[in-house]
């Protein structure tokens, strides 16, 4: 289930990023970052309703792994910050260059002037 949703997210994200326009590209990035987070989640061996901490003396055969959650939390915060930056950047860049099509954004890489 997790694996399928990661796959679908990656596929949809990659498809969006191929479009050559800025906004779908960003949405594709969001989907991909969620796919990455889910992949980490899955890699921590998902369990249901298990405690991450075991009382002293108790015998627990199954316990939740707390580390992936910590990792994902960090990754989400970083990803959110980056995404808001990129959105603001795209807005500014749209205002400045007047286009969101990647092919037309050639200010920094001028085509050969002959």
């Amino acid at each position: 289930m997790i694996a399928v949703s990661v796959g679908v997210l990656v596929a949809a994200g990659s498809y969006l990023m191929m479009s050559g326009r800025l906004l779908p590209y960003l949405f594709g990035l969001v989907l991909l970052s969620n796919a990455g987070n889910l992949a980490i989640f899955g890699s921590g061996r998902l369990t249901y309703a298990r405690p991450p901490l075991v009382p002293e003396g108790a015998q627990a055969l199954e316990l939740a792994n707390a580390l992936p959650q910590a990792l994902i939390l960090t990754a989400i915060v970083i990803g959110f910050g980056l995404m808001s930056y990129t959105l603001a950047l795209s807005l500014r860049s749209w205002q400045e260059t007047g286009t969101t099509r990647m092919d037309e954004m050639r200010l920094a890489e001028p085509e050969e002037r002959g």
């Binding site: 990023m17 800025l22 590209y25 990035l29 991909l32 970052s33 796919a35 990455g36 987070n37 992949a39 980490i40 899955g42 890699s43 921590g44 061996r45 580390l67 992936p68 990792l71 960090t74 990754a75 970083i78 910050g81 980056l82 930056y85 990129t86 950047l89 795209s90 500014r92 860049s93 400045e96 260059t97 990647m102 954004m105 050639r106 200010l107 920094a108 890489e109």
Partner: protein
């Protein structure tokens, strides 16, 4: 504490410069003081590591592999030292060369944050923290990219951000996969846990993801496009700092992960690294040959030079690694110097486009000689550092019987010389076309340039101690026993 200073100092400087946001003068003083303190911290660390071997510290007293480890072997320590040195020189250059850095809009805090991220990445002992430091560095570099607010900067920043974010996500996913497969993210612990397991699908898949991610950070073929798209839109000072350090963090991560966590000699990894390196060398230098703006030429050359370092890693011999490490330091000095010179050229002629400038040899012979030193060093002529760097990589590839790679080393060196000659002919030798627009030229701004040129000359003439140091650093990487011991992860190899 030794290991914390190189991270704590730029962090403090970033906070202080941010607090002093109203006064540009205070920011300048704090920024330069922070860089000097970083250089001091780096020197102390380097001397300690040279004397006593690899150092490690466990944050909060949680022993590895459970806590956060910071660790420095000779390679990391020397890189932190180089970071400090470049920080001092570029920040000084930014202070004496007025103009384009955008100091009112947070240039100094961002620069310090960039240094923070770079030093953290060099010193961290586990993969997830490497990811976090990469992010710190990336966010700071995003800020620095747009800090002047010119139109082409936004264009460049969109491409830079878009491509680097993909690499970041790939890195994160790779880290996740690796954690799932090994149950640990401490690099020293991974070294033991993954020994002999590199054939497993998850482990190999993680290796491919990490290779892609670090390759993109290092601007390795075929994922280098963000670099020539963005470097030439930065302010001169910042582009020199970027050229010195940003891609090197990617190369550092490649070297660290593909020697310590993975064995670079494993079949798929080794050939990908090898051909990635060789193709970077060739594509980068050909791309440079087609350009007519100085900084765009230099940016494409960076791609080509990164190829040399990765080739040294891919050869998977002690000599190859030593070559890669020596090349890395040579490139830090020379490439940032060439970017600073590009700034000086622009100051004196008003442009960087080779078609519209000229006549610098007559007007500034001093600058011309400084350019010659760095350009010939980049192209690999004796007696400069570039010669020894290329020679080491060449000998390593001949020893490993990689004759195609050896041929590429020679041919690319020749082509590098060709494009340096192009800059020389167009900017320095031919008479200036049209009216010479002289904006300003600060002699003080040439001090870092002269210093860096002196370093490449001196380290080229007296090459032996530096080559010995690179060999020692490579030896510490090839046999990580002391590294593991410093981290405190000692386990029997067989479970």
């Amino acid at each position: 504490m030794l290991l914390v200073w190189p991270v704590a100092v730029p962090m403090g400087a970033a906070v202080l410069t941010l607090l002093a946001a109203r006064s540009v003068r205070a920011q300048r003083v704090l920024s330069l003081a922070g860089a000097l303190a970083l250089l001091a911290a780096g020197t102390v660390l380097l001397v300690t590591v040279l004397r006593e071997g690899p150092q490690a510290a466990q944050m909060g007293g949680w022993a590895a592999p459970y806590g956060i480890t910071m660790v420095a072997d000779l390679f990391s320590a020397a890189l932190v030292f180089a970071t400090g040195l470049m920080a001092v020189l570029t920040i000084f250059h930014g202070l004496v060369r007025p103009g384009d850095t955008g100091e009112h809009f947070g240039h100094h805090p961002l620069t310090q944050s960039l240094l923070l991220g770079i030093c953290g990445a060099f010193l961290t002992g586990d993969l997830f923290n490497l990811y976090v430091w990469f992010e710190v560095m990336l966010i700071a570099s995003f800020g620095l990219l747009v800090v002047g607010g010119r139109r082409e900067q936004f264009d460049a920043a969109v491409k830079y951000a878009g491509l680097n974010l993909v690499a970041t996500l790939t890195f994160l996913t790779g880290v996740g996969l690796l954690y799932g497969a090994a149950g640990t993210l401490n690099m020293a612990d991974l070294h033991l846990t993954l020994a002999g397991r590199s054939g497993e699908t998850a482990v190999l898949g993680a290796a491919m993801l990490l290779l892609f991610a670090f390759g993109a950070k290092a601007a390795l073929f075929p994922v280098f496009f963000w670099l020539p798209a963005s470097y030439h839109t930065l302010s001169i000072t910042t582009s020199a700092l970027f050229a010195a350090l940003m891609t090197k963090v990617g190369v550092y991560a490649l070297i660290r992960v593909f020697t310590l966590v993975y064995d670079a000699g494993e079949p798929p990894i080794a050939s990908l690294l090898l051909w990635g390196g060789v193709l970077s060398m060739v594509v980068g230098v050909l791309g440079a040959a087609a350009q007519m703006e100085i900084r765009r030429i230099l940016a494409f050359h960076s791609v080509s030079q990164i190829g040399y370092m990765v080739l040294g890693l891919a050869l998977h011999t002690g000599l190859g690694l030593a070559g890669a490490i020596y090349y890395l330091f040579h490139h830090i000095v020379v490439k940032s110097n060439l970017f600073l010179i590009a700034g000086a050229v622009r100051d004196r002629t008003g442009s960087e486009d080779l078609r519209t400038i000229g006549g610098l040899w007559k007007r500034s012979p001093g600058l011309s000689i400084l350019f010659l030193v760095s350009a010939l060093s980049l192209a690999g002529l004796p007696p400069f550092t570039g010669f020894w760097a290329k020679l080491l990589v060449l000998r390593a590839s001949l020893d490993a019987e990689r004759y195609v790679a050896a041929f590429a080393v020679l041919a690319v060196g020749l082509l590098t010389l060709f494009s340096m000659t192009k800059i020389w002919n167009e900017a320095f030798w031919k008479p200036h076309p049209g009216d010479a627009r002289r904006r300003f030229s600060s002699r003080l701004a040439l001090i870092p340039v002269a210093l860096l040129a002196a370093i490449t000359l001196a380290a080229g003439v007296v090459a032996e101690p530096f080559i010995d140091a690179a060999t020692e650093a490579a030896a510490q990487i090839v046999d990580p026993a002391r590294y593991l011991q410093a981290v405190g992860v000692t386990r029997e190899l067989s479970p």
